[in-house]
Symmetry: C2
Subunit: 564 residues, 2 copies
């Protein structure tokens, strides 16, 4: 497929979306409604304006996602190069929060930050065969500089194993040089031809990639799971996004690695899974390809001229990307827009003056504004990210919508009547609950509520996830559960042939109408992971429990699902 065709295809999709969208904005005037009622029309939210979200999440998820991202000012579509997007401050701030947490945590583990070039020669890129097979179709190539054609094309990193490991070979000489633990925060490019999706599948994205080398497999193993646990903390504790820890099947593991551990998330609205972050043990495969060797300290060079025994190092690589921002939006957002977990919200509390009417005196108005400025200052000095919205030319209602769209966790309303009672009305973004709060207790109550929102958001999402993981023992229950937008947890033989067959057997052959509607995905089920935490009831009985699909002997419960 040529790049041209792909771009055109995307443009058609994009135009179709734009058209649908224009239909919805008919309230604003000139445009007529679409000719025949469609799913898209159903999605329209009564009374919504172009400033807010105009479609229901449950009805047209794909358009809803696009609108939430654009109108909350998290992201802008980049028209110049399809599959690329502009990460705006509201979203970039979340990335910086993730960076701050994760970078400090890995530094505690002795990992050091570094920066390797983004360019890699064809020769180097192709040094590890399985690895390049995994990435080759998506590599972007630089072939010209100024008006000169380069002698040989230079690739832009899709990941940096082949960029870094020649230098690992250079720097690592003895076991005293181990462990070597490096990390970089950078952009990578994977020129995918599948339909792009903001944050979820983009041609350029930001991530961190850790690359480490160890003396023993045990040390490497330990680190793989330490990092996986940090990733879990990013997702569950910061983004309130529940994940399941597991191991990828052989077919789904990192190209060229020994084994891949993963966090698998779930998007309830579509019933689709999403790979949230991966931590790979590369084993000795890359160290053999790149000749990263040390002298075995237990078999040093002998006085008889005998060479020291060589040992290949054990390596890991691990990464988390800006995809995290997208899945957080998908899970928590609602028909009013974003819902941000307090820990990653740039603004946690917005304070809005209310109840100012034509009868309010200038003095009263000033009192309200002074009080608002005072409480904002007070909250800030307690480490709460608070902000006043004192704009003159907007109504309270407009401001409510504005900050709801942007997902600010708490809104405080203060008016002359509240002042006389020495209180403020607190409104939670996540559940809409309103509660008057005495101004005297404000900062402590707000702190507690922010923690409570963080926990509630996670707990709710966790319950939904748990409810959608169905334990299935026989094939007849497999596809119906999938079709009901669930994951399936089933005993599996762990054979690749069986994996392919499950995918084939679970592929829906949709009508055209269904295919258009993302909620009934036609794709087959993949193995998402073999969960670290295995169900105990019923347990897998070795030599007895049967694979859900082929009837062979099952090894472990495996999580299956349709996936992004």
């Amino acid at each position: 497929m040529s790049s041209r065709n792909s771009n055109e295809a995307e443009e058609l999709v994009s135009q179709a979306n734009d058209k649908a969208q224009k239909g919805h904005t008919s309230k604003s005037g000139k445009k007529s409604a679409p000719k025949k009622p469609s799913k898209k029309a159903e999605a329209h939210i009564e009374g919504a304006s172009q400033l807010g979200v105009e479609v229901r999440k449950e009805v047209d998820f794909s358009l809803w996602y696009k609108q939430v991202l654009k109108r909350s000012e998290m992201l802008e579509y980049y028209e110049e190069v399809s599959g690329c997007y502009i990460i705006r401050p509201l979203a970039y701030n979340i990335w910086q929060e993730i960076q701050n947490f994760f970078d400090a945590a890995i530094k505690e583990m002795g990992v050091e930050d570094t920066y390797f070039p983004m360019f890699v020669s064809q020769r180097q890129l192709e040094r590890e065969k399985d690895h390049i097979e995994g990435f080759a179709p998506e590599v972007a190539w630089v072939t010209k500089a100024g008006s000169n054609t380069m002698e040989s094309p230079i690739a832009i990193r899709p990941t940096s194993e082949t960029v870094m490991y020649p230098y690992f070979a250079k720097w690592i000489r003895t076991h005293r040089d181990l462990p070597l633990k490096l990390n970089q925060w950078c952009n990578v490019v994977r020129w995918e031809f599948k339909n792009p999706q903001p944050f979820i599948r983009t041609r350029e994205f930001l991530w961190q990639e850790g690359h480490t080398a160890h003396f023993t497999k045990e040390e490497a193993d330990t680190e793989v799971y330490q990092i996986l646990e940090l990733y879990r903390q990013v997702y569950e504790d910061m983004l309130a996004f529940p994940v399941i820890k597991g191991i990828k099947s052989e077919k789904e593991k990192f190209a060229g690695g020994l084994y891949t551990t993963t966090l698998e998330g779930f998007i309830p609205t579509t019933g689709r899974g999403v790979q949230a972050a991966t931590s790979h043990c590369l084993g000795q495969n890359f160290s053999k390809m790149f000749d990263i060797v040390i002298e075995d300290p237990s078999a040093p060079a002998g006085p008889d001229g005998k060479d020291a025994k060589k040992m290949y190092v054990w390596q890991n690589s691990w990464g988390i990307s800006t995809r995290a921002i997208g899945v957080m939006v998908m899970v928590h957002g609602d028909d009013k827009g974003l819902v941000l977990p307090p820990r990653v919200a740039a603004t946690q509390v917005v304070v809005i003056p209310c109840g100012i009417t034509s009868k309010t005196t200038e003095d009263e108005k000033k009192c309200v504004e002074d009080k608002i400025n005072y409480v904002v200052k007070e909250m800030k000095s307690s480490g709460i990210k608070a902000k006043a919205d004192l704009r003159e030319n907007y109504s309270p209602g407009y401001k409510f919508n504005h900050w709801e769209l942007k997902g600010v966790p708490i809104r405080l309303e203060i008016g002359p009547r509240d002042l006389s009672k020495q209180q403020t009305l607190m409104v939670r973004r996540d559940n809409g609950v309103k509660e008057p709060i005495p101004l005297a207790d404000l900062t402590s109550r707000i702190s507690d509520t922010l923690k409570c929102i963080q926990k509630d958001m996670f707990d709710r999402a966790k319950k939904v996830y748990d409810d959608h993981v169905k334990l299935v023992l026989k094939w007849d229950d497999f596809v119906p559960n999938l079709d009901n937008k669930n994951f399936v947890l089933a005993p599996w033989c762990e054979e690749e042939k069986c994996e392919d067959s499950i995918k084939e057997k679970s592929t829906r052959h949709n009508t055209e109408q269904e295919a258009e509607d993302e909620k009934a995905p036609s794709m087959g089920a993949k193995t998402l992971c073999i969960p670290l935490e295995q169900p105990s009831d019923p347990p897998i009985i070795p030599g007895e429990t049967k694979c859900v699909s082929c009837g062979g002997l099952a090894k472990r419960y495996t999580l299956f699902g349709r996936s992004y």
Copy 2:
């Protein structure tokens, strides 16, 4: 010139360097010394090993710079793609310190971080004519993805004006959308064909680029100088690297901008200048090209259907790059290696056990090590970045060299005899001064000394810089001062023709031997900047003071020099 030739030329240079270097390592055994005595041979430091720096900074600056960077483990040469380098943790840590300071400072100013794609279409890139003329010869083009040829090539950003400003046009509608202040930390690519130099001139580099839009020129002007002042703080207060603030000549200003303010630094060893950071006022040039307009609030749309008056916004862009790390090394490093200013040193104090001999008892040894661990902990809890080097298999002398090479500001030596006196020997990296310190006062004395080192390093560098800026009133003194590795500060007419003529007249036509030696650069003098702080003695008398070169009327004193 084709890319191939350029790569070959660099490789020849690199091979020549390697050859020279191999000559120097003759101590280690097999290799013979170079056949005839050369500058390179003179440069060799007696007794130096391959672990440390083997050449004198004053004798072979270019090789010294390369060795210091490589052997201190600041940087690694990237063999795959010439002109690209690996920024290792010791150097990357300095970049992170700069990021932390600068990012916090601009956020205080209301600037928000963002991330735009690295790709830009040819059409977009070429929208501003002067701008693209400045960058076109160095643009890297992606033309293939996987095995597909793209319909039209896509550029990698050399800078992001043309990437960002179409979106400024989209986002800015009224004066209430102003100011818009965005910043991004990213990589950029400028495929230069000049001889690359680590940190100083590299094909990929890291930087921040700020892009802002304002309602009035006054606001834009104010910000240009606020940012320039922050850059000064990065260089002078963090890196102890003195700079001169000034304005670029019309010829040297940013392509497409209105005016460019700059910090100009000085590398005493070569007598060459270096542009340290620039803050540009773009005026309304880009806003006109990209149609970034607002309705003039003083001339809104009339009820008679008259359109509102349009106003173009005023824009700035500003950037500082990883070049900062290189110039810091060039100025402060010495024949023992790096000298790091305390504010950017990842390790500020290293504590080394000394005086352990065969007569030392195990108990005494343990006492020393316990004390070292104790003082390191104590210093750390006071915010001092301290580290113990308790490695068994290395001598104190080896460790001294090791940490001197890495530029650690303070070394503490503790042995059994020091313990009995309750003291430690403190050795300053910047001036070699040794002083016993009572252990009781340790953290306060170390804190004070770190501050003192920071100040002394700046003061020394500042004095050297000041001594090398020569006020010149007549042409006869111009080139001799330049040739003595000085900058020249002279009254100038500010005409481009005269600027070209000065460059031509100050170009040395060196012998081959001289050309090989970087200390006698053959290049002509450029205008570095018109300093904000103008000499007052003698003052420029309008209509009277003559230009140093053409004899026309001088406008201001201008700083001239040979430059990187």
